[in-house]
């Protein structure tokens, strides 16, 4: 009985291993190479009543973008149709580091940053 159980467990393990999802980090031959070429701000100095327009230029399959300010300041306004473009606004005058991380569906990622200054 014990042997049967061991054998059954072994079969289940082998089947589970065989059913393992293919590794999504493997780009394969038809994949678009991942490249994050630049992060560009239209204006690097803005007024407190204004907003900076920032665009990430990247290529790759299934790209996603994550936008942060180094210390959590300011408000990002997403561009609904283009996740590679945001506007950013702030309520006090200082210099800020805006960071964008681009990632493709194979988990290739890269971050770039741009400094924006705000003045009264």
């Amino acid at each position: 009985m014990k042997r049967t159980l061991y054998a059954l467990c072994l079969v289940v393990l082998v089947m589970a291993a065989a059913c393992k999802k293919s590794d999504s980090t493997d780009p394969g031959t038809g994949a678009t190479p991942f490249s994050f070429t630049s992060l560009v701000a239209q204006d690097t100095t803005i007024l407190l009543t204004g907003a900076a327009n920032i665009t990430a230029h990247a290529t790759g399959d299934g790209l996603t973008f994550t936008w942060t300010e180094e210390n959590g300041y300011g408000t990002f306004i997403p561009n609904g149709s283009n996740p590679a473009n945001v506007q950013w606004t702030i309520c006090h005058a200082a210099r800020f580091k805006i960071i964008c991380e681009a990632k493709d569906k194979y988990n290739h990622s890269e971050s770039k940053y741009v400094y924006i200054s705000s003045r009264e």
Partner: protein, 327 residues
């Protein structure tokens, strides 16, 4: 029995008032935040032994006016308005007749800022900080309706990383949590005048915040409040509260920086409250906060008004246990 019920009713009332006002679940104050701490409950007194108190409350706050120092300003302001809706749950338990433990949790349904120059509003939501409080009745004279209670507690974050939505980081002012730990101490003083159904009590609390992962520290907060409670009709009480709040500057890397100079304030508010008690165990309260004096560092969005409702119930677990044993 009558005295016991009346005492219970007052204690319930204090409890609700304390939490509705004094739990500074998000004492954030950036140039664009709503600034004021917003809590909701009020009892600070200790509970009877084996009493479990459950208090559920809801609070709405609205802000649309910037202040620079002690006067209004419209210059270089970036927000049209800000508001939040918050609900909190507090569980209190009388461990002994002098020692009470409390747990509190809160959730922001929405914490929203509406921009002035862009057609956009940004909203955060989620759990606020949790709290654990221990209170000790240092001096209690029930016959004279005198109580002095001291307490201390710990606030803890449910997350330590800033909240993200659809790939963008929400700004500090609409984060639901401070993402950092804090500690606080409190002092509750009470004197009742049963012959004229009046009570005067005072709640005083100091909050100390620790730095978050980015070495940002929300400023310490001191709140002092004086309450006058008067019985209007059977089971119905009117309470008037005068509250003073001081919040220190926030600190970035242990200093006031260009990013934190628009933080910190003095705020004085008046809070009328109406409370209805049922059988000494249920209590429903409604209140509104009306700021009457504001003095803000730099330029900040300030609270215009807030209102809250609260429902509370006491369970006597000791009595139930005895009945079960008797069975």
């Amino acid at each position: 029995m009558c005295i016991s019920l009346r005492e219970n009713r007052f204690r319930l009332l204090f409890f609700i008032l304390f939490y509705i006002h004094f739990i500074p679940f998000v004492a954030k104050s950036q140039c664009c935040s709503t600034g004021s701490p917003v809590g909701a409950a009020v009892n600070v007194g200790v509970l009877s032994r084996n009493t479990l108190r459950v208090n559920l409350y809801y609070r709405h706050s609205y802000s649309d006016t910037y202040y620079q120092d002690d006067h209004k300003t419209t210059e270089l302001t970036s927000l049209k308005k800000a508001y939040y809706d918050f609900t909190g749950l507090i569980l209190g338990y009388g461990i002994t007749k002098r020692l009470t433990a409390e747990l509190d949790f809160g959730y922001f349904f929405d914490k929203t800022q509406v921009l002035k120059y862009e057609d956009y509003k940004t909203t955060g939501y989620g759990l606020s900080n949790g709290g654990v409080t221990f209170k000790y009745g240092a001096f209690i004279k029930p016959a004279k309706q005198i109580e002095v209670t001291v307490g201390a507690g710990l606030r803890y974050p449910f997350r330590t990383e800033p909240q993200m939505h659809n790939g963008i980081q929400l700004n500090r002012d609409i984060q639901s949590s401070t993402n950092a730990f804090g500690v606080y101490g409190l002092l509750f003083l009470n004197k009742g005048f049963p012959e004229i159904t009046l009570r005067i009590f005072s709640i005083n609390r100091y909050d100390y915040n620790f730095a978050d992962k980015k070495d940002y520290t929300y400023g310490d907060i001191l709140m002092n409040s004086l309450f006058v409670s008067k019985k209007l009709f059977k089971n119905t009480f009117a309470i008037l509260q005068l509250r003073g709040e001081w919040k220190d500057y926030d600190y970035e890397n242990n200093k006031v920086s260009v990013n934190t100079k628009n933080t910190g304030y003095y705020l004085v508010s008046v809070t009328p409250t109406l409370s209805y008690s049922l059988a000494g165990r249920w209590n429903i309260s409604a209140l509104c906060d009306i700021p009457v004096y504001k003095k803000y560092n730099g330029r900040q969005l300030t609270p215009k008004y807030a209102y809250a409702i609260s429902l509370s119930h006491d369970f006597n677990l000791g009595r139930k246990a005895k009945v079960e044993i008797a069975k």
